[in-house]
C-alpha cells in the first residue's frame, strides 16, 4: 500500500482510539479534578456500559438502530445510578480520603468484574451496529460506524464542555474543584456535587463502552486497557483539566494509530509509557494541569 493511503488509514484508526479514549479519560479526569478520587474502577464502568448495551439490544425487540439508541440512553444512566450508589455507600463513608478511596475503588473493580462474570458470563458477545455502512475508498474499505463513533464522541465532549462552562451545575462543580470548604461555606451541597460528579464520570465511561461494543465484543475483562490508557491520558493532560485530557487523548490516540501501523503496537505502548514517565519527571502537573 502506498504511503498516502497508509497514513490515512493510520490516522482514521487513531481518531477512533482517540475518540473513545477522550470520553473515558474525561470521566476519570472529572472525578479526580472535582473529588480528588483516583477511581481505579473506572474501566469497569466502561465494561458495564458495553455489557448493558448487549443486554438492552438483546431484549429490545425493534430494529438494530432503535435498539442501539435505547442502549445509548439506558446503559449510561444505569451505570451512573450504580456509581452514585457506590459513592454514597463507599466513598462518602471514607470521607473521600485519597489513599482509602484508591483501595476502595480497587475493591469496587473486583466486585463489578466478578459480578459481571457471575451474571453475564465469561463469553464475548457481539452487539449489532445501528447501521451497516461501509465506505469503499480506492485503496481500502472502512467501517462507516467507526466514523460515526468519532462524530458522536466529539458531540458528547462538546456538550460536556458547554455543561462545565455555561451551566450553573458546571459552575458549582468547578467551584467545588477549586476549593471544597469555601464552596461549602457558600451553601453548596458538596455531597451532592460529589455524587453527581462520580455518576457523570462513570456515565461517560459507560457511554464510551456502548459506542465501542459494535466494533469489539462485550466481555467482562474488557475494562483493563481503557483504564490504563485513560490514566496515561489523564497524567499527560493534567489531572482535572478537561482541555488537557482532550489534547492528550488526541496525541495518544493518533500516535498509537500511526506508530502501531508503521511499526508495531508494542512500540506504540512503549512510547506512550515513556511519555508518561517524561511528563512525570519534567512536568508533574501534566501539560495543562494547574500547579499543586
Amino acid at each position: 500500500m502506498a504511503f498516502g493511503p497508509f497514513l490515512l488509514l493510520a490516522l482514521m484508526e487513531g481518531l477512533v482510539t482517540a475518540a473513545i479514549l477522550a470520553l473515558a479519560a474525561a470521566g476519570l479526569s472529572l472525578v479526580f479534578g472535582v473529588m480528588r478520587v483516583v477511581n481505579v474502577a473506572h474501566g469497569e464502568f466502561y465494561m458495564l456500559g458495553a455489557v448493558l448495551a448487549w443486554a438492552v439490544t438483546t431484549m429490545f425487540p425493534g430494529p438494530p438502530a432503535l435498539a442501539f439508541l435505547a442502549a445509548v440512553i439506558i446503559a449510561p444512566l444505569v451505570v451512573a445510578a450504580l456509581a452514585a450508589a457506590a459513592d454514597g455507600l463507599i466513598l462518602k463513608r471514607l470521607n473521600y480520603d485519597p489513599e482509602a478511596t484508591i483501595v476502595a475503588t480497587i475493591g469496587l473493580l473486583y466486585i463489578l468484574q466478578q459480578a459481571a462474570l457471575s451474571l453475564y458470563g465469561p463469553n464475548a458477545n457481539p452487539v449489532t451496529a445501528p447501521f451497516e455502512w461501509r465506505i469503499q475508498l480506492p485503496w481500502f474499505g472502512y467501517s462507516g460506524y467507526k466514523l460515526f463513533v468519532v462524530a458522536a464522541a466529539g458531540l458528547v465532549l462538546l456538550a460536556l464542555w458547554q455543561f462545565m462552562t455555561r451551566t450553573k451545575a458546571g459552575l458549582v462543580m468547578r467551584a467545588t474543584q477549586v476549593d471544597r470548604s469555601t464552596a461549602q461555606a457558600f451553601g453548596i451541597n458538596v455531597d451532592r456535587v460529589y455524587m453527581g460528579t462520580f455518576a457523570l464520570g462513570a456515565g461517560l465511561a459507560a457511554l464510551a463502552g456502548v459506542l465501542i461494543v459494535p466494533i469489539q465484543q462485550a466481555q467482562y475483562l474488557m475494562g483493563h486497557d481503557p483504564l490504563l490508557l485513560s490514566f496515561i491520558v489523564v497524567i499527560i493532560g493534567g489531572l482535572g483539566s478537561l482541555r488537557g485530557t482532550l489534547i492528550a487523548a488526541l496525541i495518544i490516540g493518533l500516535s498509537d494509530g500511526v506508530i502501531s501501523m508503521f511499526f508495531t503496537p508494542t512500540l506504540a505502548k512503549i512510547l506512550a509509557t515513556l511519555l508518561v514517565a517524561m511528563v512525570l519527571v519534567f512536568r508533574p502537573q501534566g501539560l495543562f494541569g494547574a500547579k499543586a
Binding site: 488509514l9 493510520a10 465469561p122 464475548a124 481500502f140 474499505g141 472502512y142 465484543q217 486497557d225
Partner: protein, 424 residues
C-alpha cells in the same frame, strides 16, 4: 421382670450394636469395590478461552454419560472434576496441583490453550500424574514436555499444516501472507507453514504476528503486501469476530487475495453473521466439519445428539450458540482413550499411573467408531501424539461445506523425540 426395648439385655445390646455397625460399614465396603475413577479436567471456563471451555465441558459431560451408561471403566463408575484455570498458565499449574493432590484425581486432562499447556505440563511431570492435553500445539511431539504429557485426542498443528500446504499451493496460490497470534500456537503455524509452502515451491511473503490479547486488527492489514495471492489467517480468543469483520471491512468489495483460514478464526462464530459476507467462497481448515457433511460417518448423528449440537454445529437449544466443533471432539476421544488404556493396563489406582502411561504408549491403531467420532486415528507412542485426517471446507451460501479430506498418512512426519526412553 419384663424385658423389652426400654430394658434391653447386655447380649441384645451387643447384637443390635454389632448389626448396626455392620450396616453402617456395608456401603463403605461395597463402595470400595467400585470406587469411582476420578478424572480432573483443567477447564478454560473463564478468560480468553471461555468459548472453547463451554463446549469442552459439554462434550466431556456427554462422553462421560455415554461411558457410565455403558458400565464405566473396567466396571468402575467415572466422575470428572472440572476446575477453572481462567486460561492462565500460572493458574493452570495450580489447577493441576489441586486436582492431583487435594482432589485425588487419577489423571488430569482437557487443556486447550498452548501457553497454559506449557505452564502446566512441568508440574504434571513433577507430580508424576498423566496429563492428557487437547491442544493442537506441536509442543508435545516436539519433545519440549515430558513423559507424563500426551495428546491422544487431537492432531497437532505441524501435521495439520503439512496436509494443508500442498492443497493451498495447488488450488489457491503460492505467494502467501500469514496472520497469526503471537505466541506458541501461532509460532507453530508460522514455522511449519513457511517451511511446508517452500517445499511446494511457494513462499511466505509476509508474516504478521498479532498479540493474542489484541482487540483491534485494522492496523495490521496494511502490512499485507499487494503481491499476496493467499491470505492465511488463524486467530484465537474472544476477539475473533472483530478480526474477521474488520478484515471484511478492509477488503470489502475491492480486489482481495484468496482467503485460507484455520477454523480457529471462526470457532464459536456464526458464519452467517452480518459483515461476514466477504467470506463467501473462501476456504477453511476444519478438523471435524461443523456443518454435517453429506458423507459423514455412521456415528456422526449419534455424537451430535449426545453433545446437543444440531446439523449446523450450533446448540440444539440456542441456534446462536455456535460450537467449537473442530476442537471439542478431542475431549470425547481423550476420555475413550483413557478408558481403553486403563482397561488394558488393569489400572486400579494412582499407584498404577506409570503402568497406565506405558499402556497408552503401546497404543497404535484407533479405528473409527463412536469412541472417535472425528475419524480413525493412529497414535505414536514415542512422540505421544495422535495422527488423523483433516478437512477443508468452503463457505457456500453462508455455510461451511466440506470440499476435501486428507488421509492420515499425509500428516505424518519424522519423530522429533522418543519419550519412551525418558525416565518416569
Amino acid at each position: 421382670m419384663t424385658r423389652g426395648l426400654l430394658h434391653p439385655t447386655r447380649r441384645g445390646l451387643l447384637m443390635a450394636g454389632g448389626a448396626g455397625f455392620l450396616t453402617a460399614a456395608l456401603p463403605g465396603y461395597v463402595g470400595a469395590q467400585a470406587a469411582p475413577i476420578k478424572i480432573g479436567f483443567q477447564l478454560h471456563r473463564t478468560g480468553i478461552g471461555a468459548a472453547y471451555g463451554r463446549w469442552y465441558e459439554r462434550t466431556a459431560q456427554a462422553a462421560l454419560k455415554a461411558i457410565n451408561d455403558a458400565g464405566g471403566i473396567a466396571g468402575r463408575p467415572v466422575e470428572i472434576l472440572f476446575e477453572d484455570d481462567a486460561t492462565d498458565p500460572k493458574r493452570g499449574s495450580e489447577v493441576v496441583d489441586k486436582l492431583t493432590q487435594s482432589d485425588g484425581c487419577d489423571l488430569v486432562m482437557g487443556t486447550l490453550f498452548s501457553h497454559v499447556v506449557m505452564g502446566s505440563a512441568p508440574r504434571a511431570g513433577e507430580l508424576k500424574v498423566p496429563y492428557l492435553v487437547c491442544s493442537e500445539g506441536y509442543h508435545v511431539a516436539s519433545g519440549a514436555l515430558n513423559r507424563w504429557t500426551l495428546q491422544p485426542g487431537i492432531t497437532d498443528v505441524r501435521a495439520q499444516i503439512s496436509t494443508m500446504a500442498p492443497w493451498v499451493a495447488a488450488n489457491l496460490g503460492k505467494k502467501v501472507t500469514m496472520v497469526f497470534p503471537d505466541y506458541a500456537f501461532g509460532h507453530d503455524h508460522r514455522d511449519f507453514f513457511t517451511a511446508a509452502i517452500q517445499a511446494q515451491g511457494g513462499e511466505v511473503v509476509a508474516q504478521i504476528a498479532v498479540p493474542p490479547t489484541e482487540t483491534s486488527f485494522t492496523r495490521y492489514f496494511p502490512q499485507i503486501p499487494a503481491e499476496t495471492e493467499v491470505l492465511y489467517h488463524v486467530m484465537v480468543g474472544p476477539a475473533v469476530l472483530t478480526f474477521v469483520k474488520e478484515l471484511g471491512e478492509f477488503y470489502g468489495t475491492g480486489a482481495k487475495p484468496a482467503l485460507f483460514g484455520f477454523i480457529d478464526s471462526l470457532e464459536a462464530v456464526d458464519t452467517a453473521t452480518p459483515g461476514l459476507e466477504f467470506l463467501e467462497g473462501s476456504h477453511f481448515w476444519e478438523a471435524h466439519p461443523r456443518v454435517k457433511a453429506a458423507d459423514a460417518g455412521e456415528h456422526e448423528g449419534h455424537y451430535r445428539t449426545a453433545v446437543g449440537v444440531d446439523d449446523n454445529g450450533a446448540s440444539v437449544s440456542d441456534a446462536k450458540d455456535v460450537s467449537t466443533y473442530s476442537h471439542m471432539f478431542s475431549t470425547w476421544e481423550t476420555l475413550y482413550f483413557i478408558k481403553q488404556a486403563m482397561e488394558a493396563s488393569g489400572y486400579s489406582g494412582p499407584g498404577d499411573r506409570q503402568k497406565l502411561v506405558e499402556a497408552m504408549e503401546a497404543t497404535t491403531d484407533l479405528p473409527y467408531g463412536i469412541e472417535r467420532p472425528q475419524g480413525a486415528k493412529r497414535f505414536n507412542g514415542k512422540t505421544h501424539q495422535v495422527f488423523g485426517s483433516q478437512h477443508i471446507s468452503q463457505v457456500q451460501g453462508g455455510r461451511l461445506v466440506k470440499v476435501h479430506t486428507t488421509t492420515i498418512d499425509e500428516g505424518l512426519y519424522e519423530d522429533a523425540v522418543d519419550y519412551t526412553t525418558m525416565s518416569f
